[in-house]
């Protein structure tokens, strides 16, 4: 066997081991998003606990933080106070808005959840899952950040806590609110 073939064989075997490693020890629930850098899909739906509809169109030109949640989701409770803190801090900026999208839930349960844990931003009901499918959501919590041009800059699967929370508050949101685009992603 020539040296070239030996190297090719070793590289191939290493590739196989990498695949096995990913398959056996990687997180099978983590599906890489294909939506970063694409226009945020428009949506409109009934507001949770209020009359009227909430649409993305209303917030054109703003940085929109879109959080998919449900009352039955335990991880959503972990991040909830952080979401309130983010909106408390960045909501003063007229170019920022946070929206909750209530996912696979009953409105009464969602309202009870918001009464228990608090709410300082609007929520929209995803009645038939259409908003979730448009955003490629397959579980909660998932959070998207849309820039002022209406382009998705970040998707986070799982709660906004710890280092993720720090990343959002220290780099991502301030950067996007200062008009950053391509360079500010997560």
């Amino acid at each position: 066997m020539t040296r070239g073939w030996q190297i090719a064989l070793i590289v191939g075997l290493l590739g196989l081991f990498a695949l096995f490693y990913q398959g056996l020890w990687g997180n099978p629930r983590l599906i890489p998003t294909v939506l970063i850098g694409t226009p945020a899909p428009a949506f409109a739906g009934p507001a949770v606990g209020a009359d009227g509809t909430v649409s993305l169109e209303q917030f054109r030109g703003k940085v929109v933080m879109l959080n998919f949640w449900a009352s039955w989701c335990l991880e959503c409770r972990l991040e909830h106070q952080n979401l309130l803190a983010i909106n408390e801090r960045f909501g003063r900026d007229p170019n920022f808005v946070m929206l909750g999208v209530n996912y696979q839930d009953q409105e009464a349960d969602a309202l009870a959840y918001l009464r228990t844990y608090g709410s300082n931003f609007a929520h929209v009901r995803d009645v038939k899952g259409a908003i979730s499918f448009d955003y490629g959501v397959y579980g909660v919590p998932e959070t998207f950040v849309v820039d002022q041009q209406g382009v998705i800059r970040c998707k986070t699967i799982g709660p906004i806590i710890g280092t993720v929370y720090a990343e959002y508050t220290q780099r991502l949101l301030p950067g996007l609110l200062q008009g950053g685009t391509e360079a500010v992603t997560c």
Partner: protein
């Protein structure tokens, strides 16, 4: 006693009724929904398609597929839509393009490489193994002469 023509009629009627019963409860839309749903992966249950999965996510996705078919979208349009939202992972069969070719051709390539290596190794063993030496003459000359002498004595 039942007449033959009456018996034949009863059997024919039973066959027609049972054949009809098997198609009454599934419309063309149901069939098309099932066919599309079987090609889409349930992203929360890993190895199941959304037709076979009982998860709420899969149920909602099935309903969405059905609604899209009702609106006149083709199965290809629907698959393209979900592909654009979830990426290749949503399809039960990865599309044959780019690095996905590795998934399709990889097993055959590995089989070929393995076969070639096996052939090479076996061939090496065969050529390196020395041929067995011809058996030595079991009788030395004095023994042979002695046997002949005793035979002829």
């Amino acid at each position: 006693m039942l007449r033959p023509w009456l018996a034949a009629g009863v059997i024919a009627a039973a066959l027609v009724t049972s054949a009809g019963a098997s198609t009454v409860d599934e419309t063309a839309l149901d069939i098309q929904t099932r066919e599309v749903a079987k090609t889409l992966r349930c992203t929360v249950c890993q190895t199941e398609n959304i037709w076979e999965s009982g998860s709420p996510f899969a149920r909602q996705l099935r309903d969405n597929v059905r609604e899209r078919l009702e609106k006149g979208q083709s199965p290809e349009d629907i698959r393209a839509y979900f592909l654009s939202r979830y990426g290749d992972y949503i399809l039960m069969q990865p599309p044959t393009r780019g690095v996905n070719w590795l998934v399709w051709l990889g097993p055959f390539a590995l089989l070929l490489i393995g076969g070639a290596l096996l052939y090479r190794t076996l061939r090496g063993w065969v050529t390196q193994t020395p041929l067995p030496a011809p058996p030595a003459d079991p009788l030395d000359e004095p023994s042979r002469r002695r046997i002949e002498r005793e035979l002829h004595s």
